[in-house]
Subunit: 408 residues, 2 copies
């Protein structure tokens, strides 16, 4: 890996984008019940007005607003009560000048009426109603289509289904709709030192952290994890594992040891198992330098060799593969939290730095306190609420400087 | 409902807290694989050191640091190579003064050695190794227990399991652990005007929004939804539905119409179905005033009568029942996003105001733009990214004022 060939995050993203433009993005139809947290695959248009009829937004008397002109606390207008609208029923009659009709909140406004005088300002004086306020046209009324107009865009492609989107789709009667099918992702953890988390490590061995951490991160970012395995540092076994994963995946993640020899063997294995193979070898990111990206054209599979250190592996996953899902699914990135950094943080010449931080609320603003730790330390991330990116052209952060914290 | 009996949000929360202190909070053991997004029910302590042995954090030669004193670019120290440590194997030998041993990143440091000289500063000169740098004790080494000490608190009760927590639990070999069992919640939507979202509403009727919106919100906030039904405005039917829900739920949500008569009938039905019944009648919150809270002591069930308007129902749910889950499960609230409000927003005398907003990123800071809309309009919330609370003692917000946006 020579320094000249190292990519910036933007360059690596551009190369990924060029490859994956041929990736087949699929939709599937789901019901509202199963859709929470999924991403809309198509723009959804309203097929009817919502509300479908003029509705009262207060309890009161539906009136013709011009009939109430001049009414006030001292001088009521007297209107003949033409009837009462029952909740959930068609009004069934019209209002003419000089008339009114009782309507409960949510009830249908009879035709002819254009406003509702609130019950608090009305008095039943035996057959006729004294109205003690002048109401403007539209007061107390939600007009048909005021919430959603027939034919209007209700929700755009790329929208995350939250509780309120479930509500809007319910209102529009759209209970089946297309969402994106998650990309299929396989995880390969490599290293002679790894044992499964269930196991008791012999001396010199450690439990595999990356399989479970990357699996959880994949699910959170919208992938489906189709396979996960530990492979020892053996060229033939690694090549075979990559080949098997390519056959069933859109993305294959290989988290390798970070030692020199292992990095080279991941690149070689990708080059043997995939054509054209490696297209990016090294990332100008700290942590995350030993990152390798490859592509298999025949199966249209992206391959990502991530660093073995858990923090570096998760950071690179988030910045490249989390980003990829956002791009492919047209999903806006999440909101970052503006904060001030609590102390000086050194940059790294020629490399962007991803710095984990803890957020502390002080009054109405946040302070971001860096969590320092060797990149093999997973507790760096369990203590962190998010991370701050330091641009590769920046010398570092000065205490008190404004930063944007991306939540982890 | 008289004004004197209306509760502030804090008063309502205090009353809820007093009731639910007898609510049985249960744990269940889950596997790591099923735990993403769950809340730890107990403090988790590490049962062993992580790493379990001193590990190299770079490729290089394990040395006794004092042996390298005085070494530099021009003047190497020569050390005898006592062996090579294989990845994933016990070192199997010790280092004595004048010796060194090759160790790959992640490999076990032989006993005796206290530092690793990076391979870039070493040269193999046939049997002996020339070391061109003086290394301090601990350089290039992750000490046993440096990430997590045996017996130390690994994760505290109330921790949300994110990908990094899955990683830390994997590292510690803790693959089964207790999480909170979600509270059981039932949803009753009341109103003669409601039809199920699958149906075609007859004139005067509308589709039920709240069942699906509140169901999704319940799931997101950590409840399990055990039943959901639409009930017409009939006192006996409503009482029966509440009775059935109480029998199987920890929390029963009744989203009622907002008209005067209906509010009273929800309170009466709660009082007939639950003992002691209603303990809070009206909330000094906009939107959300017609909120009713009750308690059934025998079954230990909380009852919440929410406004019928979807925006108001979701706001009250979030502020009272979302808050309740955080409290019961010892979970810190999520992070709000500091922003500046884009225009003046009126307050409401004597009531807190929940104002939905859109967040716009401008450079490194956010502007919060209010989404105004009648409280029956669900699109107010699909357009919003979050909400701002205006304190009940505040006259309103001035354009440019700092606000905290709670993401929805």
């Amino acid at each position: 890996m020579n320094l000249l060939s190292v990519d910036t995050i933007e360059q690596a993203r551009e190369k990924i984008r060029a490859c994956v433009k041929s990736l087949p993005i699929k939709n599937e139809t789901v019901s509202l019940d199963e859709s929470l947290g999924r991403i809309l695959a198509l723009d959804i248009f309203a097929e009817e007005d919502i509300p479908a009829f003029n509705r009262a937004t207060v309890d009161g008397y539906a009136v013709i607003s011009s009939d109430t002109a001049g009414a006030g606390e001292a001088i009521p207008v007297f209107l003949k009560c033409a009837g009462e609208v029952s909740m959930g029923e068609a009004a069934g009659f019209s209002i003419h000048s000089g008339e009114c009709a009782y309507v409960p909140t949510g009830g249908m406004i009879p035709s002819g009426a254009d406003a509702v005088a609130m019950i608090e300002y009305c008095e039943d004086s035996g057959g006729s109603i004294a109205v003690y306020e002048a109401v403007a046209s539209g007061a107390g009324v939600a007009l048909a289509g005021e919430d959603i107009k027939k034919g209007a865009l209700l929700l755009r492609r790329g929208t995350l289904i939250r509780p309120q989107e479930a509500g809007a789709l319910s209102a529009a009667g759209i209970i089946h709709f297309p969402v994106f099918v998650p990309l299929r992702l396989s995880i390969i953890s490599t290293g002679d030192e790894l044992v499964s988390p269930e196991g008791i490590p012999a001396p010199g061995k450690i439990r595999d952290i990356n399989s479970n951490a990357l699996k959880a991160l994949s699910l959170r970012r919208g992938y489906s994890v189709v396979s996960s395995k530990i492979v020892s540092d053996d060229a033939a076994l690694l090549e075979a594992a990559i080949g098997e994963a390519i056959a069933i995946s859109d993305v294959v993640v290989i988290s390798g040891g970070s030692s020199k020899g292992e990095k080279d063997s991941t690149a070689s294995a990708i080059n043997r198992a995939a054509k054209p193979g490696v297209f990016s070898h090294g990332l100008s990111l700290k942590p995350g330098k030993p990152t390798i990206l490859g592509w298999d054209e025949e199966s249209r599979t992206l391959l990502a060799g991530l660093p073995g250190h858990p923090v570096a592996a998760m950071v690179v996953f988030e910045l490249l593969l989390g980003w990829l899902c956002d791009k492919l699914f047209d999903r806006p990135p999440g909101f970052a939290v503006p904060a001030r950094i609590s102390c000086n943080v050194p940059g790294s010449p020629g490399r962007a730095v991803c710095q984990p931080v803890i957020l502390r609320l002080e009054g109405d603003s946040y302070t971001a306190e860096p969590v320092f730790g060797k990149s093999g330390m997973i507790t760096t991330l369990t203590r962190a609420d998010g991370y701050v990116m330091i641009d590769l052209n920046k010398e570092g952060l000065k205490k008190g400087e404004s930063v944007m914290v991306h939540l982890f």
